[in-house]
């Protein structure tokens, strides 16, 4: 019997050995009956866990009101952020919860098909989902038709319009969608796209109800949240935390270095937060005052020996390489930001001019892409300029900090691929 105010809710079981269908049913057994799923979802106040925190019920209602008999639910398990492991962990521990949630969403909007999209470069997750789907089929589960699709892994491949475009045309390229509200379509069929963790939470609400769901968390951010903590700690950890607990408490549970400089919140497109503000509650309303957000539940801890300038430069360089190169300001602007950061980071001669150019270019690049990729990078750079102002100044004067010469990097950045190695199809 699952208690309302007890963790874990989502992460039951061990990663690597996913719960079988029988075990899943036993763990999440309930006698509670939900009258109207959509109303329950609305009462729960669940927001999306993919990074944007959009109210899930509102999205579901919008899709339910669309015309069409062949709507599709897409489960986004792409996990484009390199320092996020929560979706993979969830799928390796409890894939059936996610599939249940997708089935519930399908029944709400009237969809007959569910497509689960996992990154092709993540064979473990693909295997877990495939096995879970096979189990469901063998057990003769009712409900929508499930399908597994494996898209190539790119940072932008997890963006909703890019993922749907890949499903349509086999290219993971974000699309320009000026009309609001923007409805995603797969061959003229309306699509409801939700993150894996969001779907899992929907399954919990469907089983236990909104009141149970709201027993944890704050009024505005109810429920539990999966957080990936990396950086200045021994092993990367995925935790299930409750919004409202302070960041410091989260880092303590994760076993992170207590003496850190700053934390990167939200992912590569997120913001830095000074360690002085670690007593802020870990939820969107509280973090907003520092210009940060929970994002996709990512926390990277920057230790004392690190250098914020260098770490930011590495991230921006990789993000520039991950641009879809469809829009000029992103295709040319992000590499320019990366070069400027490299100049400042190395403390070269015109580093101070590079610093000025950086601020100017941030203003020029923001908001001019089809997707929010350049905006995320600009947000990261601006927060770095704010949080590491002293370091930037020192570097610009030609006196780089000791951290920049250290060989230890806290923000793990994947290998930079050459352009012809990038697979978009």
């Amino acid at each position: 019997m699952m208690l309302a105010n007890e963790l874990p809710r989502l992460l039951r079981g061990t990663p690597g050995t996913p719960l079988t269908l029988g075990q899943h049913e036993a763990t999440y057994a309930t006698t509670f009956k939900v009258a109207s799923l959509l109303d329950e979802l609305e009462a729960s106040g669940l927001t999306g866990r993919g990074g944007a925190a959009f109210p899930t019920a509102r999205k579901a209602r919008l899709l339910r009101d669309q015309r069409g008999h062949n709507k599709v639910v897409v489960v986004n398990a792409m996990e484009g952020e390199p320092v996020s492991y929560k979706d993979t962990t969830l799928l390796s521990a409890n894939p059936h919860l996610v599939l249940d949630g997708a089935a519930i969403l399908a029944s709400i909007i009237g969809a007959k098909d569910v497509v689960v999209c996992v990154s092709r470069d993540n064979p473990n997750a693909v295997g877990n989902v495939q096995r879970a789907l096979d189990e469901r089929e063998r057990a003769g589960a009712q409900g929508p038709q499930f399908k597994l699709e494996t898209a190539p892994w790119r940072y932008v491949a997890g963006e909703e319009s890019a993922l749907v475009h890949w499903l349509n045309d086999n290219e993971s390229l974000p699309q320009y969608r000026p009309q609001r509200p923007a409805i995603l379509k797969i061959r003229h069929h309306a699509v409801l796209l939700d993150n894996v963790e969001t779907c899992a939470n929907v399954a919990l609400i469907g089983r236990f109800g909104a009141a149970w769901f709201r027993a944890l968390g704050t009024a505005v951010s109810p429920g539990s949240v999966l957080v990936t903590v990396t950086g200045a700690l021994e092993r990367a950890k995925v935790l299930e935390v409750v919004p409202g607990m302070t960041l410091r408490a989260v880092l303590n549970v994760a076993g992170a270095d207590a003496d850190s400089q700053a934390v990167l919140l939200g992912g590569y497109g997120g913001s830095w937060l000074d360690a002085a503000h670690l007593d802020t509650p870990y939820d969107n309303e509280s973090l907003a005052q520092w210009g940060a957000s929970v994002g996709a539940g990512i926390v990277v801890v920057l230790g004392r020996e690190g250098c914020g300038v260098v770490e930011t430069q590495r991230v921006v360089q990789w993000m520039a390489n991950e641009s879809a190169r469809q829009c000029g300001p992103c295709a040319f602007g992000l590499p320019a930001l990366s070069d400027d950061l490299a100049e400042v980071g190395a403390g070269r001669r015109d580093a101070s001019r590079a610093l000025q150019r950086l601020e100017h270019r941030c203003v020029v690049i923001e908001g001019r892409g089809a997707c929010r990729h350049p905006d995320g990078v600009v947000r990261l750079v601006r927060s770095a300029l704010r949080v590491f102002a002293g370091d930037f100044e020192g570097h610009a004067r030609g006196a780089p900090c000791s951290g920049s010469r250290s060989r230890r990097f806290f923000v793990a950045v994947p290998r930079l691929e050459k352009e012809h190695e990038l697979v978009w199809e």
Binding site: Q175, Q326, P329, R368, A370
Partner: protein, 79 residues
């Protein structure tokens, strides 16, 4: 027979994916479009009144002249 009133405003919007940095819009509607350092358009964010006929005409020329048909004139909804 009445005077056709021009109330309301418009935006010049660019589809950043279609835009290829040709720069014709900047030549045709310099009061609305300037260029960034990579040759891509920086369009005025504030709406322009429809009664500003000269600017509206420039905007129309820019929409017509764009080699990639990347520009659109969007009316600001009145409410």
């Amino acid at each position: 027979m009445g005077v056709r009133r021009r109330s309301g405003a418009f935006y010049l919007r660019v589809n950043p994916i279609l835009c290829d940095g040709f720069g014709h819009c900047h030549e045709l509607a310099p009061e609305l479009v300037s260029m960034d350092e990579w040759g891509y358009p920086l369009i005025k964010r504030e709406p322009t009144a429809l009664s500003d006929l000269a600017t509206l005409e420039s905007a129309r020329y820019a929409v017509r002249g764009c080699p990639r048909q990347a520009l659109r004139i969007e009316r600001v909804s009145e409410n």
